[in-house]
Each structure stands twice: as structure tokens, then as C-alpha cells.
């Protein structure tokens, strides 16, 4: 589904922060992306999310070569990739419900057609009674769940999560992890970037470890 071949990345004229990265993210797969802080986890996620172009190497996304994807095609491809940002990126002037529904709204969908789905999803992430609330009054954990719900609403083929449990307590972290596993069982490939070892120990899954600017895969 997403394939990296000898990918290298550098910002400007700085040193290469990712070097000779090669891996494949198959459909319905589940993997953790880990490494020390500053190792390049977020940069790798940005490459996966098409928000960066590699300095060298090839990336193929849903059968398309990254270098040939035009600016106008990016929004369409991004709809197949759900992202949970580390800093949530919620819009403060929209309610929880509206933030989650945003990806559908920008596609021009009528509210009546997605109202029930958004409501159910919010209920599922435990925010059924918080859908009228605006982000500034939500806790970090609640914002995280809104962000996850927004990433899931379009039923993406792959979900990328950047430190999704970084702002929640261990019980909620376990619940969120369970949510990702359930999602994966339903057919969505999941990539979770984290440096939380206890989280990774709860699931026996593939691990992509960034070490010395290279990615090592442990199946």
C-alpha cells in the first residue's frame, strides 16, 4: 500500500536525518514506529502523509509514485490517510462534533448524511456527551480523542498517529490502543509513532525502529 525504497530526507542543506529507508506498509497491517526523541519519527510520518517529499529514493503510495503526484491530487489521496497530530490541530471555533465532521464537510457532504456516523463515532471514543463543547474547554485526553475521531471519520485505508497517547493517563492510553486495534481488525492499516515502551509491550506487532537515521524493522 505504501512502499519506501532507499528514501533519504534532509532539510535544506543540513545533514540527512533519514537515510536509506526501505519498508512496506501492507494493507491491514499494524505497526509501531519508535525511536528516541528527535530521531525523525515525525518526519517519517510526514513523508507517509505526503506532507514532505523525500530528498532521494522512491515512495509509492496506493500504487502511485510520490514524485508524480500533483498538488491537485494530494487532497484526494490524503482522504485515504487519517492522521492524528501530536498537537491535535483542532479548530477552536468549531464544536467537537464539527471538528470530527470537518473532513466530510470539506468534501461537500450534507450534514444529514453524516450526522449519525459522527455521533456514533464520538460516542465510541467516549465523547458522546461532549459533542457541543468547543476544544478550548476540553482536556488534553479529550482533544486527543476528538483528533482520533476526526482521523477515522472518512474510514481511511491507513491511520497515522503521532504520539497518540502522549497526553493521556495509562488507562485511557490502553483504551485508545484498544480502539486502534479494533480499527485495524476492521481493515485499516495503523502506524503509531511513540516512544512509550509500555504501550508497545501490550501488543505483539511489527516495530519500525529509527536508529542512526535508518529504520530497522522487527516483525
Amino acid at each position: 500500500m505504501i512502499r519506501f525504497e532507499n528514501v533519504g530526507l534532509r532539510y535544506g542543506i543540513g545533514p540527512e536525518i533519514l537515510r536509506d529507508v526501505s519498508f512496506h506498509i501492507p494493507e491491514r497491517s499494524f505497526q509501531f514506529l519508535t525511536g528516541p526523541s528527535g530521531a525523525g519519527k515525525t518526519s517519517l510520518l510526514r513523508l507517509l502523509f505526503l506532507s514532505l517529499k523525500p530528498t532521494r529514493g522512491n515512495i509509492s503510495v496506493f500504487g502511485r509514485d510520490r514524485s508524480t503526484i500533483s498538488r491537485s491530487d494530494l487532497p484526494l489521496l490524503r482522504r485515504k490517510i487519517g492522521v492524528v497530530f501530536q498537537d491535535f490541530r483542532l479548530l477552536d471555533h468549531l464544536t467537537t462534533f464539527e471538528n470530527v465532521a470537518l473532513p466530510l464537510r470539506v468534501r461537500g457532504r450534507e450534514e444529514a448524511s453524516y450526522k449519525a456516523d459522527v455521533r456514533d463515532l464520538l460516542d465510541w471514543v467516549g465523547l458522546g456527551d461532549r459533542m457541543h463543547v468547543y476544544p478550548p474547554v476540553l482536556s488534553g485526553g479529550e482533544k486527543q480523542r476528538v483528533s482520533i475521531a476526526r482521523a477515522l471519520i472518512e474510514q481511511p485505508s491507513v491511520l497515522l498517529a503521532d504520539e497518540p497517547t502522549g497526553n493521556v493517563d495509562p488507562p485511557l492510553a490502553r483504551r485508545l490502543l484498544k480502539l486502534f486495534i479494533e480499527l485495524n481488525k476492521l481493515g485499516t492499516a495503523v502506524v503509531i509513532a511513540t516512544h512509550d515502551l509500555s504501550l508497545m509491550e501490550q501488543v505483539d506487532s511489527r516495530r519500525m525502529v529509527i536508529h542512526d537515521n535508518r529504520v530497522e524493522i522487527y516483525d
Binding site: 470537518l102 473532513p103 464537510r105 470539506v106
Partner: protein, 329 residues
């Protein structure tokens, strides 16, 4: 998928539905862009002030141009035959002959003698009242009214008058008319120049104020971009929002300027013949913009609103281009 997830999570769908209906009544969604911010209110005010100034300048230019044209037309419509007195000269006969002679030319609609009383009134500021016109060698005038659409041959009239009537000369006021035309054109050019400057200042102010108001919207554009919104969708949202902000501000400014002109017109009408109103009327004519003036004001309003919308659209495009360039680096 959601159904399946719910089943697994064991969520109470009915409870969620009830909660939803209570807090999210139909059709009450917030707009995708924040509706009012301090910067958008400031932009409305800036647009209103600049539109007010632009419309005020435009209205003044229209009034001055119209008055300049009126001066020009009024003076061009008249000419005079001047007859100087001389010893033993029959002035009355000469005046009558001059009047009849003038009437024979095409392009002259009427000719009338300025009688003794009118001549005395003309000289009153210099010679005082109670003047006996016959006791002084005062030149006399025949006023000739000209058809401005087909003016006569001034040179032929001048030659005929000089030949037929002794001591008479024809003054077509050409020198004055030419000077007034030059002055009117200079005034019009000057006014248009000022209007262009004000318009340029308005355009720049509106552009910078719009960009300033959008400075805080970067995160909104970014989020919309990342959730898969097309550039056309994001641009449309901003263009629409900022067009409305521009329209609201420009309408307020344009309306205020129009009301000011209306108030001045009523003031002029109410004080007709009062010295201050006469002075103002001499400079600006009647304070009536007319249909063309109000149409021009409407055009300025629409142009400024469109400019605000387009600026926001261009800013969004530039922001997305930067984002894309960052993505491709």
C-alpha cells in the same frame, strides 16, 4: 464500519442520539471560518473609512467637473457688441442697428440691448448709485445669445460689425472661454488625480488590512488542507467571507458619504440665496451627485468588496503554495 465499531464497543446509540438532538439542532452548524474576530472587525472599520474617503473624493470630483462644465457653457453662450461713445454720435441708433445686424446671423438665437438702467447697475460698484449714464462717455453693450450647438462665424460677425457700425467692436469672449476651458480641464485633471491617489491608497490599505486580518487564519488553512480540502474549496470559503466583510464595510462607508452629500444638498436648498450657500454653490454648483454620482459610489463599494475577497483568495493561494513548496523541499 461505525456500526461494527459500536457493536464492539457496546455503545448506547439511543442515548447518544438523544444527547445529540438536544445540543445540535438541525442547520445550526458553525461556519468553517471563525465568524468575527478582532482583526475582521478592524478590517471592516478600515474598509468603511477608506470607502468613505474614496466616495467623498469621487463625489467632490464629480461636482467640481460638473460646475466647471457649467461655467464653460454659460460663458460660451454669450457674446457682446460694444459701442464706444463719440462726439455727435447717435448711440441709440447704433445700438438698434447692432441688435438688428446681430439677428441676421445664423447661430445667434437672440440679441438685446443693455439699457441705461442695466448699464448703470453694472457700473454701480465703481461709480456709486444715482449715476446719469448720459453725463459720462460710457460704452454701451448689446448682449448676443449664441446657440452653443451651431455657433456662428465669430470672425464674420466681428468684421461686419466693425464695417457697418462706427465705434463698434464684437467681443466673442473667446479669450475668457479659452481660459475657462483650460481652468476647467486643469480642475478636472487635478480632481481625477486626487481620486486616483485616494483610490490607490484605498487599494493598498484594503490589501494590507485583509492580509493582516488573515494572519491568524494560517492554522485554519493548514487544518483544512490536511483534512483533504481542495484549494478551490479553501479559497472559496475565504473569498466569500472576506467579500462579505468588505461589502459590509464598503457599504457603510459609501452610504455615509452619500448621506453627507444629501445633507449638503438639503442644506444648500434650505439656505438658497444666503451668502454662504451662494459661495459654496459658486465653487461646487448644486450638491447633487445625480444618478451617475450614486452609480459611481455603488461601483466603488462593489469594487472594494471584490478587492477584499480577491486579496483573501490570493493570500490563501500564496499560503498553500508556501505549504506545498515546504512539502516538496
Amino acid at each position: 464500519m461505525i456500526e461494527e465499531l459500536l457493536r464492539r464497543a457496546g455503545a448506547d446509540r439511543e442515548k447518544a442520539a438523544k444527547s445529540f438532538r438536544r445540543i445540535m439542532p438541525d442547520g445550526k452548524a458553525n461556519p468553517i471560518l471563525p465568524s468575527t474576530t478582532v482583526s475582521s472587525r478592524a478590517l471592516t472599520l478600515v474598509v468603511a473609512i477608506m470607502t468613505f474617503l474614496a466616495c467623498l473624493t469621487l463625489g467632490s470630483v464629480i461636482l467640481v467637473n460638473r460646475t466647471a462644465e457649467t461655467w464653460q457653457t454659460q460663458i460660451a453662450r454669450e457674446a457682446t457688441i460694444q459701442i464706444r461713445p463719440a462726439e455727435g454720435f447717435d448711440m441709440d441708433a447704433a445700438l438698434e442697428k447692432a441688435r438688428q445686424l446681430a439677428d441676421t446671423f445664423d447661430g445667434i438665437t437672440s440679441a438685446s440691448i443693455v439699457d441705461r438702467a442695466a448699464t448703470a447697475r453694472l457700473l454701480e460698484p465703481w461709480l456709486g448709485s444715482g449715476l446719469d449714464i448720459d453725463s459720462l462717455p460710457v460704452p454701451r453693450l448689446v448682449v448676443v445669445t449664441i446657440d452653443p450647438n451651431s455657433p456662428p462665424d465669430f470672425e464674420a460677425i466681428a468684421a461686419t460689425v466693425a464695417r457697418e457700425i462706427p465705434n463698434a467692436s464684437f467681443d466673442s469672449h473667446r479669450t475668457w472661454v479659452d481660459r475657462l476651458i483650460t481652468m476647467a480641464r486643469t480642475t478636472a485633471l487635478f480632481g481625477t488625480g486626487i481620486f486616483i491617489l485616494v483610490l490607490a491608497a484605498t487599494v493598498l490599505t484594503v490589501v494590507f488590512a485583509t492580509r493582516g486580518a488573515m494572519a491568524g487564519a494560517g492554522h485554519v488553512i493548514e487544518v483544512l488542507h490536511f483534512v483533504g480540502a481542495k484549494q478551490s474549496f479553501i479559497s472559496r470559503q475565504f473569498r466569500h467571507r472576506f467579500f462579505l466583510i468588505g461589502l459590509w464595510g464598503a457599504t457603510a462607508g459609501g452610504l455615509l458619504a452619500s448621506l453627507l452629500f444629501l445633507a449638503l444638498r438639503f442644506w444648500g436648498d434650505a439656505n438658497m440665496a444666503a451668502p454662504e450657500a451662494d459661495q459654496a454653490a459658486a465653487l461646487f454648483g448644486q450638491f447633487s451627485l445625480g444618478l451617475s454620482g450614486y452609480s459611481a459610489t455603488l461601483l466603488v463599494i462593489l469594487a472594494i468588496a471584490t478587492l477584499t475577497g480577491l486579496t483573501s483568495q490570493l493570500t490563501v493561494t500564496a499560503f498553500l503554495q508556501d505549504l506545498h513548496d515546504g512539502e516538496t523541499k
